[in-house]
């Protein structure tokens, strides 16, 4: 009985795949080294395809060989041909791998092979710094000096010929393959059991540009890109401190995606850092294409409409989060970076809040909280009041609503549901469609929903206003993520309002609050600093106090090293009196 939960390692996975094709399992004719165990079969019909590099010195007949199981841990041999043969077997049918085999004749003739992935390396670097340096420049420059022999070739190439900044010696096939797949260059030298890895990554990447999901009026315009290294550099440029640590690990059995954990040692809580590492290393998945994959593995309560991990495209936001003691998780291939632990109030804050004047920001933050409530409750309040508690409205308003609703054939709940669903559909259409079409859709939607539906008598104009205000409020919340949960929770509350009136709305609110206070993000209460209440941290929740009075980092996340700002820095007029000219 196979255990389906256990992951299949890549090597096994390959074997299984091969086994599906009926392959005559012929014994290897000549057993040159100990690596080639008899279990590797040959496929006679599959001849090697052209690899783009002419005149390779190895035997083409042996290219169809299966890689030996467990090649990851297998050491290199000192025979270049055998090594190449093994690598070709592992990278069989990968047409983007280029092999360049040449020989250098200085004192003795030494064969060298350069292997890299086309498109992932900077070709000019490979040409100038590696191939040209070994083939031409070293033999010409080093005339009278050390003779290049088969015995010292590797160290001479490493130390004197190639001029890359990043060079490493490697001994295992697993390491070599990883090097190649990562976009670095591997050099194999005949007669040596080691390979040289030379860093020459360079591929087409999107330039650093302003993030579209989080635009600001004031603040840096840089956003993360899809390359992990660029992203870490964007962070490192903001935090130039040796205590800023970036640790990496590989996730994804097939994709081998690089995942980085960034934190500031001494500010971040060690327990949380350890917990993040634990949770990440527990993940066993075939691929990681976006941070969303990881988010669902590391959150505390998977069965919740609320996102418990914050994500952002903005390096300044991540840097600020790191400085508050949070841990960032970066994944190669996506501009979205996760920061944990996350509190709900973070979704109602923007990075710009900390750059603009505090009084304005405090007002905007209060408005965001109001928008949050409106986005969640407005349609249900409308339903509840018009259906169950009309006496709560002032008489004139009640009369006008009643007059509007006179010809409407549906109860308020159905009316609201129709409008909300068509609004959500409209919004979704606007997001997914190509931009020019999207605009057309929104115009059509606005006309139909705004005008025609009212004129046709399907909905009351007051309902259109309610839905429109709800929509605006859900945009004004700030974080897209918080908006999503509110959009989702709006519907059950509408149902409660339709069945139990204001009492139903209250039940819904209580249920949501109870659920939210029971949530945790990496062990930290989600509604902090509201519950458990911390008045010190509330300064930066509904309001944003000026920087000079924001003495401490948020509690709970950074339990030590909490002092941020030395007290007494409040700006005051200079004591010497008025500095302006002309007055005494």
């Amino acid at each position: 009985m196979p255990n389906f939960k256990r992951p299949i390692p890549v090597s096994r996975w390959k074997e299984i795949k091969e086994k599906e094709v009926p392959v005559p399992n012929l014994p290897v004719p000549e057993d040159t080294t100990q690596m080639q165990q008899p279990m590797g079969g040959t496929i006679p019909k599959q001849q090697p395809q052209s690899q783009g590099v002419p005149a390779s010195q190895d035997n083409p007949g042996e290219q169809g060989k299966q890689p030996v199981a467990g090649w990851e841990k297998m050491p290199l041999t000192n025979d270049l041909k055998v090594n190449l043969q093994q690598i070709r077997a592992i990278l069989k049918d990968c047409s983007d791998v280029l092999y360049r085999v040449f020989s250098v004749t200085h004192h003795e003739e030494v064969s060298v092979a350069v292997i890299y992935l086309d498109g992932l390396v900077d070709k000019s670097l490979v040409n100038d710094n590696i191939i040209k340096a070994i083939m031409l420049e070293y033999p010409m420059a080093a005339h009278g000096e050390t003779q290049l022999t088969r015995a010292n070739a590797l160290s001479i190439i490493r130390n004197q010929a190639i001029s890359n900044t990043e060079v490493k010696e490697q001994k295992l096939f697993g390491e070599i393959i990883e090097t190649i797949l990562n976009g670095d260059v591997t050099l194999l030298v005949d007669g040596h059991e080691k390979a040289l890895m030379a860093g020459a990554r360079g591929w087409e990447a999107r330039a650093v540009s302003e993030p579209e999901t989080e635009t600001v009026i004031r603040g840096p315009r840089e956003g993360f890109v899809e390359t992990l290294r660029t992203n870490t550099s964007l962070l490192r440029r903001r935090i130039k401190n040796p205590e800023f640590k970036i640790e990496t690990l590989k996730l994804g059995r097939i994709t081998n995606t690089e995942v980085a954990i960034a934190y500031i040692k001494g500010i971040a809580n060690d327990k949380i850092v350890k917990e993040v590492k634990n949770r990440l290393s527990r993940i066993d998945i075939d691929s990681v294409l976006e941070t969303g994959y990881l988010e669902e593995f590391i959150e505390d309560s998977p069965a919740s409409p609320f996102s418990q991990v914050n994500r952002t495209e903005r390096p300044d936001k991540v840097a600020a989060n790191l400085l508050e003691g949070r841990v960032a998780i970066l994944v190669d291939g996506t501009p979205f970076v996760l920061t944990v632990p996350t509190f709900f109030v973070e979704f109602l804050q923007a990075s710009e809040d900390y750059y603009e004047r505090p009084y304005l920001v405090s007002f905007i933050r209060l408005m965001r909280f109001a928008s949050l409530l409106m986005a969640l409750l407005l349609p249900s309040l409308y339903i509840a009041i018009t259906t169950y508690h009309p006496e709560m409205l002032p008489t004139s308003l009640l009369l006008s609503i009643a007059a509007q609703r006179e010809g409407v054939p549906f109860p308020a709940f159905v009316e609201a549901l129709l409008m909300e669903i068509s609004f959500e559909a409209l919004r979704e259409a606007g997001v997914r469609l190509p931009r020019p079409v999207g605009q057309a859709v929104s115009i059509v939607g606005a006309l139909i929903i705004g005008e025609a539906a009212v004129q046709a008598g399907f909905v009351a104009p007051s309902m259109v206003i309610v839905v429109a205000v709800t929509g605006i409020a859900s945009f004004a919340i700030g974080g897209y993520t918080a908006g999503i949960s509110m959009r989702l929770l709006r519907f059950p509350i509408m149902l409660l309002a339709a069945s139990l009136g204001l009492y139903g709305v209250m039940l819904g609110i209580i249920a949501i609050v109870v659920h939210m206070v029971s949530l945790r993000s990496f062990g930290m209460p989600y509604l902090y600093p509201l519950a458990p209440t911390n008045f010190g941290d509330m300064k930066d929740t509904f309001t944003r106090v000026p920087w000079w009075s924001k003495m401490k980092r948020p509690g709970l996340i950074s339990q030590y090293n909490r002092q941020r700002i030395n007290p007494g820095q409040e700006p005051k007029p200079s004591e010497g009196g008025d500095n302006s000219a002309g007055t005494g």
Partner: protein
């Protein structure tokens, strides 16, 4: 221990306030002024003073065993079998009290807002929600209360301020025309509400710093006293001593007559929100204590399996106990105080404290080292 969570001092403070204040706030003016008339506010103050005495008594008993709750040490004090019997009686009291609160919760909504809905809809819907919350533990109850209670208190103060123009403080005169007797009479029901603080005996071991409990409790009682007095003063000043006792929920009627420049009027949804959230926490807490006690009595490893079965009992009881809201009001005003104060709220705790002192049980000595008597 059946409960893993720990609650902070502030959370305990807010919890005590809500557990006593939440439902009382609607009934207190009518109950107090029915006998004490215009001196109702004096009755509220008197009740608060007695409340502090009860709170000191409860704290003295509870803090003798700071790491165990009532059901843990009952057996130690009076023997296993009598302990079990008393525990069973206490569970009855918790269930009965929860059912009373659920009943008054539903009655209020039926009387004041959704007159055509059957009361069982309210009782069972709030019990389902409360049961779900109880299952999540004391920490979640306390955190939810941390969100709701400040809003409740702010709401009460805002209502009081908005109702100021309607108030005529001459209604409060004359002071003590008929002597002290009616005041003492009026204070009895509020005292029985303060007595509900006895439920805290069940959660003292879950406090992060039990040594502060005495202070927290007294502070909470004083806060509650402030709000009781404020509400009694406000409603009597609005309606007068004759009209106030005729309403079932004078606080609601007071909110209904608020009218500021035709702009702020019909503020009864605020009262409704205060009532629903406050009663929810109160129901949840009593429900939690009942579930915890039942699990302790039956030696269960978790209280969660008994939550919904108890909920069904409470729900059924809440519908059966009173035929009408008038009977409910009569019961709360006349019968409940005698029944609760003499037994579970004061009677049994006093006996237990005496037994503990006489038999030298409980860590008085180990305890006094940690905290000076406050």
């Amino acid at each position: 221990m059946l409960e893993q969570g720990k609650i902070s001092g502030r959370q305990a403070y807010l919890l005590i306030i809500n557990v006593i204040l939440a439902t009382a706030i609607l009934f207190v003016p009518a109950v107090v002024s029915s006998t004490a008339k215009e001196n109702g506010w004096l009755a509220a103050i008197l009740a608060t003073a007695v409340g502090i005495v009860i709170s000191i008594l409860i704290a003295n008993l509870g803090l003798r065993f700071p790491d165990r709750n009532l059901f843990d040490y009952l057996g130690d004090l009076i023997g296993t079998l009598p302990g079990k019997i008393i525990a069973l009686l206490y569970i009855w009291w918790f269930l009965h009290m929860t059912a009373e609160v659920v009943r008054s919760f539903g009655s209020f909504l039926v009387v004041a807002f959704l007159t055509e809905t059957p009361i069982s809809v309210f009782n069972f819907s709030i019990l389902i929600l409360a049961g779900w919350t109880v299952k999540q533990g004391l920490e979640v109850i306390c955190r939810a209360n941390e969100i709701f209670l400040p809003l409740i208190l702010i709401g009460l103060i805002v209502l009081f301020l908005l109702a100021l123009p309607e108030m005529d403080f001459r209604w409060l005169l004359p002071v003590m025309e008929h002597g002290v007797k009616p005041i003492i009479h009026g204070a009895i029901t509020p005292i029985s509400w303060y007595g509900q603080i006895a439920t805290m005996l069940m959660i003292i071991p879950f406090l992060k710093q039990p040594q502060n409990f005495r202070k927290i409790q007294n502070l909470a009682v004083i806060t509650i006293g402030f709000f009781f007095t404020m509400v009694v003063l406000g409603t009597v000043a609005i309606f007068g001593p004759e009209l106030t006792p005729r309403f079932i929920f004078p606080t609601l009627n007071a909110a209904r007559i608020i009218n500021i420049a035709n702009l702020l009027e019909r503020l009864d949804p605020i009262v409704m929100a205060i009532w629903i959230t406050g009663a929810f926490i109160k129901i949840t807490f009593f429900y939690y204590v009942a579930a915890l006690g039942t699990a302790q009595l039956l030696n269960l490893s978790s209280y969660r399996p008994v939550v919904y079965p108890l909920g069904i009992i409470i729900g059924a009881m809440s519908i059966l106990i009173h035929p009408s809201i008038l009977e409910l009001e009569h019961f709360i005003g006349k019968i409940w105080p005698v029944y609760a104060i003499t037994t579970f709220e004061v009677g049994i705790p006093v006996l237990l404290l005496l037994i503990a002192i006489l038999r030298g049980k409980g860590g008085k000595s180990q305890w006094s080292k940690k905290s000076p008597q406050s």
